[in-house]
Symmetry: C2
Subunit: 447 residues, 2 copies
Amino acid sequence: MEKKIAIVGAGLSGSLLAIILAKKGYDVEVYERRPDMRKVEISAGRSINLALSDRGIKALKLADLDTDILKEAVPMFGRQIHLLGGSENFQSYSGREGEHINSVSRGGLNCQLMDKVEGLGIPIYFNQKCLGMDYKSSTLSFLNEETKEEYLIEVETAIATDGAGSAIRNDMQKKSASLRFSFSKAYLDHGYKELCIPPTEDGDFRMEKNALHIWPRGGYMLIALPNKDGSFTVTLFHPYDGENGLDALNTSSKARVFFEKQFPDALALMPSFDADWENNPTSSLATVKCYPWQVEGKSLLLGDSAHAIVPFYGQGMNCSFEDCVVFAEYLEKYKGDWEKIFSEYQKSRKKDTDAIATLAEDNFYEMRDHVSDENFMKKRKLETKMEQQFPEYYSKYSLVTFNADIPYSEAMRKGRAQDQLLLEICRETDDLDSLDLEKILQQIKSL
Amino acid sequence: MEKKIAIVGAGLSGSLLAIILAKKGYDVEVYERRPDMRKVEISAGRSINLALSDRGIKALKLADLDTDILKEAVPMFGRQIHLLGGSENFQSYSGREGEHINSVSRGGLNCQLMDKVEGLGIPIYFNQKCLGMDYKSSTLSFLNEETKEEYLIEVETAIATDGAGSAIRNDMQKKSASLRFSFSKAYLDHGYKELCIPPTEDGDFRMEKNALHIWPRGGYMLIALPNKDGSFTVTLFHPYDGENGLDALNTSSKARVFFEKQFPDALALMPSFDADWENNPTSSLATVKCYPWQVEGKSLLLGDSAHAIVPFYGQGMNCSFEDCVVFAEYLEKYKGDWEKIFSEYQKSRKKDTDAIATLAEDNFYEMRDHVSDENFMKKRKLETKMEQQFPEYYSKYSLVTFNADIPYSEAMRKGRAQDQLLLEICRETDDLDSLDLEKILQQIKSL
């Protein structure tokens, strides 16, 4: 029998990659550790919606899935900021017409992708736990979680899309001395807890539907993303330590006292607050980096297995989907030469996933501290004016989010330089209307 | 039976810590994965000598071992630089009388320490492989490598001095989500290979005895440290990749061609070059960082298990020994409250081990690139003059190496600022004698 390409992990990037490979005529099969999520309820209380934006959409286009998936999404045009005291303001994501991000259900999206995988005749084997790889014989070992049998399969090559806790990456780490496998996992001091704002009895949204809501409070924040059914998924990002930290708020009544002080408006919209607080897990946040991503053309880490990031730029999924786009380019370029494909792909891609990892950590501080800062708000206004007037101008946020043609590393470099300039300009003026935007554009271009 | 403090790992820092604890009246026992090195020959071709300096000596004093151990050492007063073409120059480590580092045998030192451990009535159990810890029951699990039996021991607390590949740290990593255990292991692109310059037939040294010899060649370097018996341990630090990289030099005849071009003078002193090249392993170099180091007062990582560094500052052992000094301070301060001792120790110590990790990586570039650079040599001369004239002045190297009273983080901050200033001064003058050293000292003090 012909050896196949094994994709380990039928999550978002694994499923998308399987579709892309199958469309190019490769013989693929998919192994997934968990049960089929289309038949079993899983992963409640953990990142149930995500912000899909241009990089992700570009990848979905490769699989002809963009239209179907955007149909199920809720557009978000900007940040709705909820200040302590109840006042609100709206910060547009872009000054250009139509640019927005999209709240999608992780589970729904994953199911759509898996349906498409199987529709193309690619098998997905569920409940198959990968145990590692033998590189000499190109053999993957698995445990069938239902029969408890261990078995081996010989593969053409293996692509590990098995997420932040990747089994193949863990196996590489065990062999780290011979592979010289560098690895880092860095936890934030903050964790998160998911809560819920349900729809009204009429099925309507209880807040502005087309926005990402933020309650910035300095050392911590609450956010809410809309779901298609009228509900919002609410997430508290909060330090573990301290008087009011996650460790101290170990009952819903303690949490309620804290929310009454800090988020009274949000609390009023959450009838199931106590049950959600008690039942939903408290989850940690970490950035994972490693290198190399490939071993001898026989295995490749792709997606979160290679670079798990914190969620604050809304780019985790988009970045992993973009991996597929970049990978597909090298696949075309070096057809069949896996060692070359994998090594050129990792060489070109690593700097970009490092950049988005840094941007995502930075954005945590921006979201919780700066979005309510006066000079920052002035800068956002100036950026929006610039984007309205000059279609070729992209703010840092727009470079990352709405410009899928520029690599993350370049978006970071350019965006940071722009930010510094614009913040300086804003500090020196009270009247944005008096500014010569044309001159600023020239300054930006010469950065 | 009273529960004991288990020290896991009878290497350099584990043995020293056992002595320090025993001297303070604690009930200690030591578990070691390897056989007793006093009875079995092990670890040939890997870091067989080390540079012992003031921080390490300060720690050995706590165990009353400094005099005995320095008796077995070869003092090194500076760097003997061997340029391509055969010319040599000597760079003193310090301008102060008597300041030097000491070449000691890793094996010999470890044996002396273990003798002392057992002399104090502390048992060392060899061939006991630690498998992990259960924190609820304070129980360590071991595999007896001789009988192949697994067993558990309940302990008062466990201190993991089991080195760069620490079993207890690996176990913490498996539990990383609940411990929020951040970890990084970063490999250099360079590896190393050990070689040997034997004594003359009369037992004499074939080169200057009291120096650390360096053959700097830009992207790579050769070094040699003297041993008591008249031999030198020679180490090539060299990239794995490239035309003449370690991977390409996979036979001694290829390596010989390379050495004939780059290190002809050293090659002429190595009669067993071919056999050493073929038989000694090629080893990789990595920096390991992690945090937290402790779990609930029940286990603590100390020494290389908490912070393995590259060898280029000669501080790996000295840093791990200094861990024992700092740990002993917190042991006194919070007697018996392990959680408090461990957490205050890690909080105070982490910044310093991070600093020496950075300095050690930096020094690789200094040693292979800069020691033969003209401005660098001028700066070394200026530093030496300053140290001769002002006993209170310490160069960066001296702050790290000869001033055990200043923490590594402070040595790095101060040393880097000084370096920058002195390099600028040297760039602007050709005549060091014309400089006003008193004025420079004042500039340095005001940094």
